[in-house]
Each structure stands twice: as structure tokens, then as C-alpha cells.
Amino acid sequence: MLKMTHLSKVYRTEVVETYALRDFNIDVKEGEFVAVTGPSGSGKTTFLTIAGLLETFTGGEYHLDGVEVSNLNDNARSKIRNEKIGFIFQAFNLIPDLNVYDNVEVPLRYRGMKALERKQRIMDALERVGLASRAKHYPAELSGGQQQRVAIARALAGSPRLLLADEPTGNLDTQMARGVMELLEEIHREGATIVMVTHDPELATRAQRNVHVIDGQVVDLAEDPRFHQQQARAGAPA
Amino acid sequence: MFAYYFQLGLRSLRKNPLLTALMVMAIGFGVAASMTTYSVFRATSNNPIPQKSSQLFVPQIDNWGPEDAQQNQGEPPRAMSYTDAIGLMRDHKAKRQTALYPAGLSIVPADASQLPFRENTYGVYADAFPMFDIPFKYGRGWTQADDDAHAQVAVIGQQLNEKLFRGENSVGREINLDGRSYRIVGVMDHWDPQPLFFDAVNTGGFDDPTQLFVPFTRMIELKVSTNGNNNCNKDPGTGWDNWLHSECVWLGFWAELPSKAEADAYRSYLNGYAAEQQRAGRFKWAPNTRLRNVVEWLDYQKVVPPEAKISLLVALGFLVICLVNTIGLLLAKFMRRSSEIGVRRALGASRREIYTQFLIEASAVGLAGGLLGLLLTGVGVYGISLIFDPQVARLAKLDVPLVLLTLLVAILATVIAAFYPTWRAAQVQPAWQLKSN
């Protein structure tokens, strides 16, 4: 489903070259729920932006749903984002000028879908996240958890092959965070492929598989001494 | 605090030079367009003799009848026939009065090597000088006795005195007009009422300063015809005498009536005069007369050129658009800084202080716009001669009041335009922007 091999991403300024990702390898299978963890600045967010075709990469290969994406132009990348990927952001990123219904509609509009089908899908998606009654509300009138549910509805409405979530609970309190996680798990059980970036190890454990990123590389947790230290610390009584 | 806010304003304006330049230019152009056209409007709608404008009156008498008056909204002719002017002079019902007309005379210099030339010349009665408050440098106007004697005397203007006598006191000397010698009794000081109210009919209100006055009675005796308009409703017949006693209108007439009571009395006198003409069979219609003071007369004569009104109107619309534009740009500018406002509010700035800060910033924009506007107004005033007659264009000046008005309008307009954006800025909640977006 999502396969990166020897992928690298370099940020160049006039004086320095910074490797955000180097020799990055990952293979996410269809139907998997993968959590990408790592300390801040490790490159996990860069990975997500490249995975979501929000940014280009410098070297290596990236196959998404069997398609090599490095040579696609901007329009083709937009089309893939629109049809195959659903995004869930830490800051929800709802459009404040639009109400809930119109927000969920945004990706469907760009797909050029018929009005009737759009309406059907929007209501289905809102139903699914339990916010059908709030369709006419504006984002500012909703709680953080509700906003994130709207964002999830927006991601689901287009029936994407791949859901990318970036710290989906980062801006939420514990109770709201739990609700959002349960929703993601439910979506996964229904067959969606989910890649979630988080720095929260507890959250990561709820995924099927964990991938750890340090200094722009995927590390094998079993062999990395840092993993043992961390495990030890995590295991220690607080 | 003012200095602090002013400094903040300047810094913020420097931060967005393009937006600032846009605003300054919008205000500058808007103000300049309005002020340029206003300078013309001000000159043409000026009260030429404010101290007496409510005491000097133009009487009108309908000697043509309803059929002609109908084509003129029922108004009597704008000028007077010789018959009526002499009748009013003879009755002498006002404190002072004069009939007048532009006389077609030429000045023949004593120096035979110089060519004859013409200046604006009017035939008037002796009363005209005190009536119109005409200032004298040397000598004075002639007397009623001179009028009665049809004396060959003249009052000349300062410029003409300069030209003929090198500015010396020329009272008592002679001036040759069309081959006849006139004795100079007075030299006027600078006298250039604008609009030229006493002969708005022939000049449209604007002409070079009058340089020569000669007795009306002498001009008639010499059969000097008018240099202005002559309108006849029917054939006056052949020759000077027939024309003089015809119903052709070609004379101006002014009466000085210092109080309302006198004006009212004169009004009824005019009606009485017209009724008498009706009884005598000369008028076959009911009296139809008017009595207008200087301001009413100039308004009726429409001395303000339609160009001046239209362009003032368009320029005002222009200013409004520039202000709408400024409101939009200020809104953009202020709202872009909502995070700054939130922080300031969080740090204890009251709404009032936010208001002050942003209004002062707007005033700075207004001041800059005003200065640009001033420059452009200068250019505009210079370019006025493009549109208006030189006689009108020469009156439009960039003087101190106009400079002050330009700056005031610019700042005031900008501050008014800033009210809404400032209000919006002051609505920003404290620290709201510090939280995530």
C-alpha cells in the first residue's frame, strides 16, 4: 500500500544541508494500522508530509498503492491526495469560514462529485462520527473533540485507501482523545489502512505495529540500545 | 503616550510599504482632485462684495410681455431697455442708483508712435463709485453735476495709469478716447471684484479688471453703442434714436437699498412703475418685476460654470471612493495585526488605548496623504487653465487657507475612514491569538 525505499529528504539553505530523512525504508500493507513514533525533530512529520504527497522528496523511491509518485506533476498529486488519502491533522484544520457540512464537502467538491452523491456521503460520514446534528454549526461553535471528529468525517467522506493522522489527539484532553482513538480503531476494524504519527508511546501501543524514527531513519527497536533504555524508563514505576 | 503611538504607527507603516503607499496615494489623489476643483468652485462662487452684497440690488422689469417671458420661466429680460433705465434714474427712489453698459471706446495714446488700444470700459453714473465701494488712489469719482452736464471726464484704473502716466498722479490730465479728450478726475486703486458682479450678463462673471469709467450720459450723447449684448424682441426700426427708444434690452441697472424696508419699498415702486406703463399703454400685461441682491443675482446668472459644478461633484465622488478604498486597506492592515492586538490587550491595554493607537496611526497616513495631496493640488491648480477660461483659471490659487484645508480634509477623511477598522481591531479579545489558531 505505502512503500518507501532509500528515501531521503534534504532541506538546503545557503549554508547548510539538513537531512530530514535519510535512507528511510517503510512498507505499510493494506489494512494495517501503523503508528510512527519518535522524539520531536526526528523526521516523523516530514515522513507524513511526504507520504501524503504534501511535499516532494529528494532521493529514493515511494510507491503508493503500486504507483511510483516521484515523477507525478502537481495536478496528478492533487488528484491522488483527493481520491486516495484522507488527512487528520493535529490542529484539525477545519476551514473557519465554512460550517461543518461545507467543510466535509470540500474534498468531494474537488472530486467533481454530483450534488446528490455528495450529500449522501457527507451525511454518512457525519453520522459515522456522531455529528450529523451539527451540520449547520461553524467550527468555532464546537469543542476540540467535535472539531477533530468533523476532520475525521472529512477524511472519511471520500473513502480514501489510506488515512494519515498527525498527532490526532495532540490538541485534545484525555477524555476527548480517547473518543477519537476509539473512532480510529473502529475505522481500522472496518478495513481502512491507517498511518498515525505520534510522540505518545501509549497511543502507539494501540496500533498494530510501531515504527520508530530517530534522526530521519527507521530504527529496529529490538536492536537499538535506546529502545531498551526507553522501555526500561517506561516500565519503571512513576 | 501620543509620541509612543505615533512611533508605533510609523514603524507599522514602514513594515508594509506597499499597502501604506497605496493608502497614501489613494488619499493624496482623492484630496487633490477635490481640492483642485474646489479651488475653482470657491473662486467662481465667491461673494465679490460681502460688505454690501445684501444692499445692492438689480431690478428687472418685463417690457417684452408674457409670450417672451414664458420661454424664460416667466422671468423678465436680464437687461433693461433705455426707456426703463432712464425712467428709474429719473424717479431716483433708491439711496443710490446707476445704469451702466460696456462702452466700445478705444484709447489713443498721446505718443503718436504708439498704437491705439482697448481696455474694459463702462459708462456709469456718479453713484456707481460709492455704491460699489470702488477704492481710489488719486482723486475721486465725478459728481452728479458732471452726469447732468454730460461732462467729458474719466476715472482710470491703476494699470492704465501705470501704462499711460507711469503711475504718477494723473488727476487733471487728459486722456484721448476715440479722438476726444477726457479730463481724468480719479485713479482707482486695485479693484478686481470676482465674480465681476456688476456686469455678469455680458462677461459671464469673469473678465479682466475694468480700467476705465466714463459718464453714461456723455456716452449716450456721443451715440457710443454697447460692447455687450443687445437683445430685441422685435425690429427696433432704423437709426440710433429709434434703437435707443425701442424695447431692445442692453443696459445693466443697480440700486443701493441699505435696509429691508427700503428694499420692500423699492419692490412696490417697481410694480407701481410697471403698472403705470401698463396704464400708459406701453405694457399690455400686468406688472412682472424682480429685485435681486448680489448673491441672488449671481446665482440667477449661473456665474459658476457648469464645468466647475460637474467636476466638483465628480471629484467628491472620487474622494468617497478613495475613502472606501482606504477603509478596506486599513482593515486589512489592522486585522493582519490581530495577534499583536491580542497580546497588547493581554498585557493590559484597554479598548480605548487600542482605539487611540490605531487612530493615530491612521492620522499619520492621512498626514502623508495630505502632503502628497498638497503637491498634486499644486499640479492640479496649475493644470486648471486646461479646462477653464483663463479669466476663471487665474482665480484658482493654492493659498494658505486652501493648503490648510487640504491637510485638514486629508487627515479628517482618513480618521473617519479608520473608525470602522479601528473598531474591529478593538474587538479582538485579549490573548485570544496566543492560543492556537
Partner: protein, 412 residues
């Protein structure tokens, strides 16, 4: 791709900016329509033909000094003689006025003797001699010119009519709509004034005035074969091709040589016809230029306002543009979003603006004797402003389209 509904929803949340742009467009449209209309009217006016061959014509205004009007006949005769013999002069004649001079005679013309009331036609009178047609360069389309014998000498206060007249086609058609005016009679006064016979018709000759009051008889002119004895004489001179510049100096000099007791001074004493035309239409041309300048600045300021406010919106919405891109919007989608948004505001603006434009015109009609606004100007103004809006929004919209999708993941 149309996104009208969501754009409307978004605009509702930005009422102030939307209203400001719409208002600016509306006011600009109102003023630009009327300004264009004024320009067109003035240009129409100043492109009216005089009926003359205006090149190489010179006008001199002369006033006699110390001469009684009735004694001027031999002096004028000598002047005309001197002018015709001046090198470079092709022909010359003395008259009372000429097209666009600004002042002249006008009178009513009738098919029957009539002294009072409304006349069949209004016309200007030009008192000329047999050389006039040659100097005007006017085109005689029917009949004949005056002969030298027909030219009489008369005082302006005594002359009531002449036996022969030449009229313009406009006047002939007004008097005799069937087109058979040649040889027919007309009356310039009551029963005591003898009728005149139309002996010739010229294609066109304008009246001396260019104000609105003479618009309804702009081309009604009548030539009478009279040498006026008057203190005040105008000489109209045709120079030989290419010699006008010399004649401007030599003609007044020739006049002063015959007699010095005259005044030829002031701005308007000696004017080439080019200057005459320039003086006559100074206000019209100036007004047209002023309105043109105002239109250009106004459109520029409105465009600048749109650029400014849209740039602000783009800056404010960078994040949501990024989100849209992340959700699959192409660059074109973003570009068309802003273009559509502007178009909608523009349409609202022009709808109001059309009302304002018509209202403003109606008000000016009532105040300044102006004509009704033609719908063409409204349409031109509407199209121009909508295009202007689209052009102005293009740069900020392109900047918006360049916002990278990764902007969605950045926190502000």
C-alpha cells in the same frame, strides 16, 4: 469548476471586506460610466465640422478708432484691397462673424412676413461679399455665388434683409423640406421688410456659437451680400498653401499700413483658424481630458484596492489554502476560487453601480442640461470593471495557488 455556494458562505463571514470592495466597484462604475459619457459627448461636439476648409484661414478682429461707424465703408474697402494684394494671401473679405467665433447675429426666418412669435427656423446671419465662399472653402451644392454688383453697403442698424441670400443645406431643408428651396423666398421680418430669394445653397456652415443653446440650429446659416459700415470689422483671410505663418504677421502689418487709427490687440485679435477652434472647444477638450484622467486614476485606485484587500485575504487564509490543497485541490482550483469570489463581489458591485450610474446621470440631467446616459456606456463600464476586478485579483490569486499543501501541517 463552480463553487458558488461555499464561496458565498465564506463571504458571509467576511462581510466588511466584501461590502467595501463591492461598494468601491459600484461607485467607480457610476462615475466611470458618466465620465465616459461626458467624454463622448464633448468629443462629439468638438468633432462637428464647420463646413470650412479650415487650413490656411486667418481671422483678424479690427476696431476703428475716432471714426464714426457710418464713415467706415471706404476704409474697409481699402483694407480688403490691401489684404488681397498682400503676398501670400489668396483671398480675403470683411464680415461680422464666422463659425466658432463665439459671438454673432441670430434671427428667426419665416416663409411668410412675421414680426413676433415663433419662427419656422432660427439662423445666424453672416454679412459677406462675393469672395466669402472662396475664403471659407465652403462647397456650393446648388445655385450660384453672389456677384460683385449684388453686394450693397449698409449700416448694421439699418439692414433688415437683402434681395438675394445663400443658405446652408440644413436651413434650406428646414424651410423647404421637399428640397426645392433654390429660387424660393423667405422673410427675415414683418410686412415692411422685403423678402429674400435663395440663390445658392452651401453644403454646410456652422453658427458662431458652440454652446448647447445653439445646438438645435448648429448648421443653420445665411449669407447676405452686405458690406457693413461699422466700427467693428472682422477680416477673414485665406492664405496660399504653406504661407499662413507669414500672413499671420504680414496681414495685420498691411492693415496698419493703410491706417493706424485702429485697434488690433488682445488675445483674440489675430487668430489662425486652428486657434479659433482651440479657443472655442477649450472647455470641451479640457473636460474630456479631466474626465479621462479621473477615469484612469479611479480605475487604478479601485484595482489597487482589490489587490490590497485580496492580498490580505490570501495572507489570512494561507493555512486554509494549504488544507484545501492537502484535501486534493489543484492550483487551478485555488486560482478559480479567488477569481470566482472576485467575480461574485464584482457582479454585486456592478448591479448596485448600474443603479447609481443611472441615478447620478438623471440628477445631472436635471441640473446641467445633459443628455440621458446611453445604455452602451453602462454595458462598457460593467464589462470594464468586471475585467478590471479579475485582472486585479490575478496576482494575489496566483500567490494563493502557490501556497504549498504542506502549509496545512504547519502551526501558526
Amino acid at each position: 469548476m463552480l463553487q458558488i455556494k461555499p464561496i458565498l458562505a465564506a463571504l458571509k463571514r467576511h462581510k466588511a471586506g466584501t461590502i467595501l470592495i463591492a461598494m468601491q466597484i459600484a461607485l467607480t462604475l457610476a462615475i466611470v460610466c458618466n465620465a465616459l459619457f461626458i467624454i463622448q459627448q464633448r468629443v462629439d461636439r468638438l468633432s462637428r465640422p464647420t463646413g470650412m476648409d479650415e487650413n490656411n484661414v486667418l481671422a483678424i478682429q479690427n476696431r476703428w478708432v475716432s471714426v464714426d461707424g457710418k464713415d467706415t465703408a471706404p476704409l474697409i474697402k481699402a483694407d480688403v484691397q490691401a489684404l488681397r494684394q498682400t503676398p501670400g494671401v489668396q483671398d480675403a473679405f470683411a464680415t461680422n462673424s464666422f463659425p466658432l467665433r463665439g459671438g454673432g447675429w441670430s434671427t428667426g426666418v419665416n416663409l411668410v412676413p412675421k414680426n413676433e412669435g415663433k419662427s419656422t427656423a432660427q439662423t445666424t446671419l453672416y454679412f459677406v461679399d462675393d469672395h466669402a465662399l472662396a475664403v471659407y472653402g465652403a462647397q456650393l451644392i446648388a445655385g450660384r455665388n453672389f456677384t460683385a454688383d449684388e453686394v450693397i453697403t449698409a449700416d448694421p442698424k439699418d439692414i433688415k434683409s437683402t434681395a438675394q441670400v445663400i443658405v446652408t443645406k440644413a436651413l434650406a431643408d428646414k424651410l423647404y423640406p421637399k428640397g426645392d428651396a433654390l429660387g424660393k423666398q423667405l422673410y427675415l421680418g414683418g410686412k415692411d421688410i422685403p423678402p429674400s430669394t435663395i440663390i445658392g445653397i452651401v453644403a454646410r456652415l456652422q453658427v458662431p456659437w458652440n454652446g448647447t443653446w445653439s445646438d438645435n440650429f448648429n448648421d443653420n446659416a445665411m449669407l447676405l451680400p452686405v458690406q457693413l459700415t461699422s466700427n467693428y470689422t472682422i477680416y477673414l483671410i485665406r492664405a496660399k498653401p504653406g504661407q499662413l505663418a507669414d500672413v499671420v504677421n504680414s496681414a495685420p502689418a498691411a492693415l496698419l499700413k493703410t491706417s493706424r487709427m485702429r485697434v488690433i490687440s488682445g488675445d483674440r485679435a489675430v487668430r489662425t483658424y486652428e486657434q479659433v477652434r482651440g479657443d472655442a472647444y477649450k472647455n470641451d477638450r479640457g473636460m474630456a481630458i479631466l474626465m479621462g484622467v479621473i477615469c484612469v486614476i479611479l480605475l487604478a485606485i479601485t484595482a489597487a484596492g482589490i489587490v490590497g484587500l485580496t492580498s490580505f485575504w490570501v495572507g489570512q487564509r494561507r493555512k486554509q489554502i494549504g488544507v484545501r490543497r492537502a484535501l486534493g485541490a489543484t492550483k487551478r482550483d485555488i486560482l478559480s476560487y479567488f477569481l470566482t469570489e472576485n467575480l461574485m463581489i464584482g457582479v454585486a458591485g456592478v448591479v448596485i453601480g448600474v443603479g447609481l450610474a443611472i441615478g447620478m446621470n438623471l440628477w445631472m440631467v436635471s441640473q446641467f442640461e445633459m443628455a440621458r446616459l446611453s445604455i452602451v456606456y453602462v454595458v462598457v463600464g460593467v464589462v470594464a470593471l468586471l475585467l478590471l476586478g479579475q485582472a486585479a485579483v490575478l496576482a494575489p490569486a496566483m500567490r494563493a495557488a502557490k501556497v504549498p499543501p504542506v502549509e496545512a501541517t504547519r502551526s501558526v
